[in-house]
Symmetry: C2
């Protein structure tokens, strides 16, 4: 049993404003919550059906409330109801703790929550640990982003900082995708490269472009004049990450 006020409080975490006020975000579904419980993130509370709790015993240290499927549905941000939902403290990673010896995925204005989540999931698959978001990126605590990461939000350090300021201080290679860059299949990558992915509509911003040291390009291999003008941002990011892993020196 859970109060109406509590349900409404949790439901509000779908909105950025209330996440900022409370310092909490929502994680839903068995896969994501299971990954969450194995992570360093601080779980505030778990809400689950009796059926779910019977199958997934929780550590005693976790605060937990049994709720009905109907109550869960009313808290949920998803169209397909799940059997478990957790509220979690938003982690704040200090950009000064970024490991300069390792690669960084830098996101310059990724606005679509699904794209951000898919990029985090793909980065996790290909063994990246660090994603730096410009302040105009959608927050990674957006419920649609969390959902799209399929649990990978637990394993990625996601920083938010001014991108030009961050890049200015680096002496490693900064690679960005452009329509007129070097074909990516000939690029040699270094372990500590910074790979910049631009906004869905406008690509990489002027201020960041000025700091890019290598312009790279994903060829279409297509000669027809009427083909797709561009790739989806998460697709471009995936091809870049895959080639990085394949062609690292």
């Amino acid at each position: 049993m859970i109060s109406k006020a509590k349900i409404s409080e949790i439901k509000k975490l779908a909105q950025k404003k209330f996440r900022e006020e409370s310092g909490l975000f929502i994680v839903e579904g068995t896969k994501s919550v299971t990954d969450l419980l194995l992570s360093q993130l601080v779980v505030e509370e778990v809400f689950a059906t009796s059926h779910w709790l019977a199958a997934h015993p929780l550590p005693q240290s976790i605060r937990c409330a049994e709720v009905s499927p109907g109550e869960l549905e009313r808290m949920s941000c998803l169209t397909t109801p799940q059997e478990v939902l957790a509220t979690v403290r938003i982690p704040h990673f200090d950009p000064n703790t970024i490991d300069d010896r390792d690669a960084v995925i830098a996101l310059d204005g990724i606005r679509d929550p699904g794209n951000l989540g898919t990029i985090i999931r793909t980065a996790d698959w290909f063994g990246f640990k660090q994603v730096v978001c410009s302040p105009d990126c959608v927050e990674f605590t957006n419920p649609k982003t969390i959902q799209a990461t399929m649990g990978s939000f637990c394993r990625m350090r996601v920083f938010s900082t001014d991108l030009p300021d961050f890049l200015k201080e680096k002496d490693c290679s900064i690679l960005g995708t452009f329509m007129n860059g070097e074909p990516i299949e000939t690029v040699k990558f270094n372990r500590n490269d910074i790979l910049v992915i631009g906004n869905e509509s406008n690509g990489i911003s002027r201020a960041v472009e000025a700091l890019v040291s290598r312009r790279i390009h994903i060829p279409s291999f297509e000669t027809s004049p009427t083909h797709a003008e561009s790739l989806n941002a998460s697709i471009a990011a995936a091809v870049v990450m895959y080639q990085y892993r394949l062609r690292i020196q």
Copy 2:
């Protein structure tokens, strides 16, 4: 000016049932409608604001109604309102007309409309012309799919047919992605390969798996035991399509 009944009729095309009844689907936004008008698809009617029409003169052969932004918003399937919307006849491509000398992307139960749209957009970028969908795929006329293609729906022949029946009759290579296949960066592709992409949760179905002649795999290059379990279906499709173009014999 447009009647309330007409608005409601168009709004209903967001639902599969009404698309099937009417044989129509919706296309929204300047980019998609511009690409549409250059394509072979049959436009039923265009609804646009006076502002849009002044900037985009239409051929006389196109039936067109001037509407207010408010009216457009009430017809729209999108959260961000656009200035133009078109209704279009659903094309039906006969699977017997598939060109066996050219590559085919075969989708085995892609259920997410955004994934299907992104796969069509990526296929268009990499110069593929033919996508074959199993009957349990989301329809490519779903408004979210059309939106995610960013106009590429106009340039792709999207077939719907029973996948095992279709594959049984082919004597070309049928490649499918699995957790235990050959690493994709060593695979040599042939021009007329069929590239199978499986369902978001369950991968390639048993019946289709039995017909796959080469099992391929996208390596994660990751040694940590706790990393992402899988890639998003549209990401996997993109890496396969990119490698096909790169490594075609």
